[in-house]
């Protein structure tokens, strides 16, 4: 075992140590707890970057340790290009949310548990991207759900949080159960839980079995992606959750569904066998895109507007995946990353607006533009970003998704409809921006300054967004390598 392989479990173990420290340190103030969380989470960022050179050399890094030998289950982690993209996105979002949380009022009570759960939430997602064992995958997959449910349950807004978290848990757990059934089918059929081994063998399954498994995987992961009509948990959960949790939910957790689709059905079964799903995925993507955008247009609560925008954006991603072309999938992966950044930014902006106005109804807010120049800049860039304005990132990914749609030759009509549907994004984004920043100043009394502790992380994310959009090269390269597993080696 090389030193690099030993380093790999550090991505999960070091944050876990942070969790243990936080659980023990009952008297930690919010600042102390947050700094422990940030330090231990940053290991999850540093280690993959350290491993980058090795990854370039070897293609993937595998760590494996026996766990339940009599069930052929092991503690195996694998870092590949595909997982790297999702891992880094998720860790960066978490770090941004952790820093943002310092300026926020949630988590003053039981700070140590709050940050421990945030760490566990992120740990669940890192584990999901890394797990190379179906049992382990499911455990991380559920950990992510459990931690987020607890966060909403304890620190959410209002008494409604009990009902919301229950709904969120049950609906998402339904998706998880479908995924679990598929995982166990694979495990039982091949007598191994190792994902690498399963991916190598899965194409030998009978065709109808492949179709069924893909269907169940698809439904299961689409629940996590909040694709219409499986999205019903999302608006409430996003609205009720405290802002840092919302940021992680929207920007990072939703993308885990995409990862699941790429990692399981797409990587396992030959792409030709999945052609039956192509048109349905594209339709579902289109419907989700338009429905999400319309709902965002109809909502008055600013947090819900951005929450529904997630449903819409996930529609693009599913559409991209559904094209089953290299370009479409590459676009989908890039969209995941760009969407994460933009969504984090928009929610941060919403958080600041709520904190200065103490209002959430867009009708009661207005004319903030002249008052907070930095905020308005960030918001403008975020809004332009989500509408797909070049050179900001989403333009690149949408371009590729639409190109994939035309490439696939399945239905030009659908692609054109998606393209036109994207106009709706501009409409709700501009309504959001205009409603808040233009017009008469509402409410009358406003905080003098936007809290600095919230503005700085927002500014940092804004700069990162511009930077990412201008230099898409590395991401494109990684996505290309990541898709090698589906389309054969492309390098």
């Amino acid at each position: 075992m090389t030193p690099y392989e030993i380093l790999l479990p550090g991505i999960t173990i070091l944050p876990m140590i942070g969790v243990v420290v936080l659980l023990i340190w009952q008297k930690a103030t919010k600042k102390q707890a947050a700094s422990i969380a940030i330090i231990s989470e940053s290991f999850a960022l540093i280690i993959p970057i350290v491993l980058l050179a090795t990854l370039r050399r070897e293609g993937s890094i595998l760590f494996s340790m026996p766990w339940i030998p009599n069930m052929q289950i092991s503690f195996s982690l694998e870092l590949s290009w595909l997982s790297l993209i999702f891992l880094l996105t998720e860790v960066l979002v978490t770090l941004a949310a952790l820093i943002y949380s310092l300026g926020e009022e949630t988590g003053e009570k039981f700070s140590n548990y709050y940050y421990a759960l945030l760490l566990l939430f992120s740990l669940g997602m890192s584990g999901t991207t890394l797990a190379d064992d179906v049992f382990l995958f499911y455990i991380f997959w559920e950990l992510m759900l459990l931690a987020s449910v607890l966060l909403i349950l304890v620190w959410g807004h209002g008494e409604i949080r009990f009902r919301v978290s229950l709904k969120y848990f049950i609906i998402t757990h339904f998706g998880s159960l479908l995924v679990l059934a598929c995982l166990i089918t694979l495990y039982v059929n091949f007598g191994t839980a190792s994902l690498t081994a399963l991916i190598a063998q899965a194409s030998t399954l009978p065709l109808n079995m492949q179709i069924f498994l893909t269907l169940f995987f698809m439904i299961g992961f689409c629940v996590k992606m909040a694709i219409f009509p499986l999205h019903i948990w999302l608006p409430d959960a996003h609205t009720v959750a405290p802002m840092p949790v919302t940021i992680i939910l929207a920007a990072a957790m939703l993308s885990m569904g995409t990862f699941g689709i790429l990692r399981f059905p797409f990587a396992m079964f030959p792409i030709e066998n999945l052609q039956v799903f192509a048109i349905w995925m594209m339709i579902a993507g289109l419907v989700s895109e338009i429905y999400g955008a319309l709902m965002a247009l109809a909502e008055r609560d600013i947090k819900r507007i951005i929450a529904y925008s997630s449903v819409s954006q996930m529609g693009y991603i599913l559409f991209g995946l559904g094209t089953l072309t290299l370009r479409g999938m590459e676009g989908a992966i890039m969209h995941v990353v760009y969407h994460a950044i933009v969504k984090a930014l928009l929610f941060m902006v919403v958080g600041i607006i709520i904190s200065v106005t103490h209002e959430r109804d867009i009708e009661n807010i207005g004319g903030l533009g002249s008052k907070y120049p930095v905020l308005v800049t960030c918001a403008a860039i975020g809004v332009l970003g989500i509408s797909g304005m070049p050179p900001l990132g989403i333009f690149n990914s949408e371009w590729m998704i639409f190109a994939g749609g035309f490439d696939s030759g399945i239905s030009v009509v659908l692609t054109v409809m998606t393209l036109i549907g994207s106009l709706l994004t501009v409409v709700y984004a501009l309504r959001f921006f205009g409603g808040i920043f233009f017009g008469k100043q509402k409410p009358e009394s406003l905080a003098k300054q936007a809290p600095r502790s919230l503005v700085y992380p927002t500014l940092a994310v804004t700069i990162f967004l511009i930077f990412e959009g201008l230099i898409p090269g590395p991401l494109l390269d990684w996505a290309m390598r990541g898709l090698g597993i589906i389309f054969g080696s492309l390098q």
């Binding site: 766990w67 339940i68 030998p69 009599n70 069930m71 049992f135 499911y138 455990i139 559920e142 950990l143 459990l146 349950l153 304890v154 009990f162 978290s165 229950l166 848990f169 049950i170 757990h173 339904f174 159960l177 679990l180 059934a181 166990i184 089918t185 495990y187 039982v188």
Partner: protein, 495 residues
């Protein structure tokens, strides 16, 4: 009388211990706690030979001369069974924890003198049922468990509801044993013998009727839908410790005796498998759906026990129908985890009731803030029952899933869908119950004696709960050794 006396050592310790304990306690006016300690030591004394049996399972099962009694036509005969040893070790362990728990739990009752001997006798009856190889003897021992258990259920006889529950249990269980007696009649009429090993050779239609009677009788005692009506009343109103023993071990172990008898009386494995799987679906659905609208804590747990009986039957059913060994061992594993989790749930629910005087969930809202340690244990038990990963229940769920998917047949898949639906529906009642512990109470909880704060939880009650909580976590995080145990028992199972 011939053969190895070792086989009856555990049961003799229990029966002898029970009578001796009662005698000594009457003579010396022992206190409740001393009785509890004495019971624990008697049970430990039973556990030692059981564990040595466990280690010698291959020798004991292979060597058919290791039996005790008269192998003639009407003779009583005892024979080792691997599953029996496994279940009884779990049963004795749970009984030890329950006796410790009762050291405080019964501190407000005056009739503790009969309680502990009854616990011992119940366990002795169960033990006898597993080793008995003679139908009539089996009937007697079943009656012993029934009567002692119903006395335990009605232990607090000054409460009308307890009497009602005890009476219901007595009537329903006696109905079960009567059906068994009827079965014995058919078997004896056809074969002129009651020795199980002899009966199989001359199985015919009459013995099949006998098998059906036994199937019915054991189903009733296991709480199989639609014969489950006694379950909620009994588990809901018996003393918590007794509910833990009944729901965790006693009624579920009937599902492991049932196949032994029915298969020897000429029933085929497929028939048994079909029966188990169909009724498993009913149990899973009825249990989880009825659970949704319960407002009494232990009644809710009773309905969840019904759905867990279903899970267990599902595992065993697949094992028989498709001849899948690992489905059967999944059933055994499930028995272990359900015993631990169910007992934990009942015991910690009992702690709530003991200190607050109520088991009404709406009156217990917010109790988690007042009794954080117990709330934690109770939450672990509920999360475990709900099948949250890294707790014992999840591994059981995984095993059942993999058993059903290995079978891969439409029938198994339909049952699997029911199973999935049931786990999902039951979340709808586990989670609110779990959450309500931490909600802000509408009006302050009054604890026993009208105090605003609970007294600190007695160590007598908390220790067993803590042990079980740790077990739920350990089995969940590192199930390998437990699966080894189950596989070992499975290999020497003699049906």
């Amino acid at each position: 009388m011939s053969g190895s006396y070792a086989i009856v050592i555990p049961i003799s310790i229990l029966v002898g211990g029970a009578f001796l304990l009662y005698l000594i306690s009457r003579l010396l006016h022992l206190s409740n706690r001393v009785m509890s300690i004495l019971t624990v030591s008697i049970l430990l004394g039973t556990l030692i030979p059981l564990i040595s049996f466990y280690q010698q399972i291959p020798d004991l099962i292979k060597d058919s001369s290791v039996l005790f009694g008269d192998p003639g036509p009407g003779g009583i005969i005892y024979k080792h069974s691997a599953v029996g040893i496994f279940i009884l070790i779990i049963g004795s362990f749970i009984a030890i924890l329950i006796s410790l728990y009762s050291g405080e739990y019964l501190s407000r009752d005056s009739r503790y003198l009969v309680y502990y001997p009854l616990v011992l006798l119940t366990l002795a009856g169960l033990m006898g049922m597993f080793i008995s190889n003679n139908l009539f003897n089996l009937f007697l021992l079943t009656e012993l468990t029934t009567i002692t258990a119903s006395a335990l259920v009605a232990f607090r006889f000054h409460q009308v509801i307890a009497i009602k529950a005890g009476f219901k249990y007595l009537i329903m269980s006696s109905l079960g044993t009567m059906t068994m007696l009827l079965g014995i009649y058919f078997v004896y009429r056809s074969t002129g013998d009651m020795h199980l090993d002899h009966v199989l050779a001359s199985a015919d239609n009459l013995t099949l009727i006998g098998a059906a009677c036994f199937l019915l009788g054991f189903s009733l005692k296991a709480g199989v839908v639609p014969l489950h009506t006694w379950v909620p009343d009994v588990y809901g109103h018996a003393p918590s410790a007794v509910s833990g023993l009944l729901a965790g071990v006693l009624s579920k172990s009937m599902l492991f005796i049932m196949p032994v008898i029915c298969l020897r009386l000429g029933m085929t494995r497929v028939e048994l498998g079909v029966y188990l799987m169909i009724f498993a679906c009913l149990n899973m659905l009825v249990g989880s759906i009825r659970m949704l609208k319960q407002n009494l804590l232990r009644r809710l747990l009773s309905f969840s026990a019904i759905s867990q009986t279903g899970y267990l039957m599902f595992g065993l059913g697949i094992g028989f129908y498709y001849e899948l060994d690992h489905a059967y061992s999944a059933g055994l594993f499930l028995f272990l985890v359900i015993a631990v989790m169910k007992c934990l749930a009942f015991l910690s629910a009992g702690i709530y009731q003991f200190y607050s005087g109520t088991q009404d969930i709406d009156k217990l809202i917010g109790i988690g803030k007042q009794m954080p340690r117990n709330a934690f244990c109770f939450s672990i038990s509920l999360a475990g029952l709900a099948g949250i990963p890294l707790l014992a229940g999840f591994t059981g769920k995984w095993l059942i899933f993999s058993a059903a998917l290995t079978a891969g047949d439409l029938f198994a898949l339909i049952c699997l869908i029911v199973f999935m639906a049931s786990t999902l529906i039951s979340l709808g009642s586990y989670l609110p119950t779990l959450v309500k512990q931490y909600q802000t109470p509408v009006k302050p909880i009054t604890f026993i004696d009208g105090e605003a704060h609970p007294r600190p939880i007695s160590l007598w009650m908390f220790l067993p709960v803590a042990v079980l909580t740790i077990l739920v976590v350990i089995i969940g995080v590192y199930p390998a050794p437990w699966i080894n145990v189950v596989d070992y028992v499975m290999r020497w199972m003699s049906i």
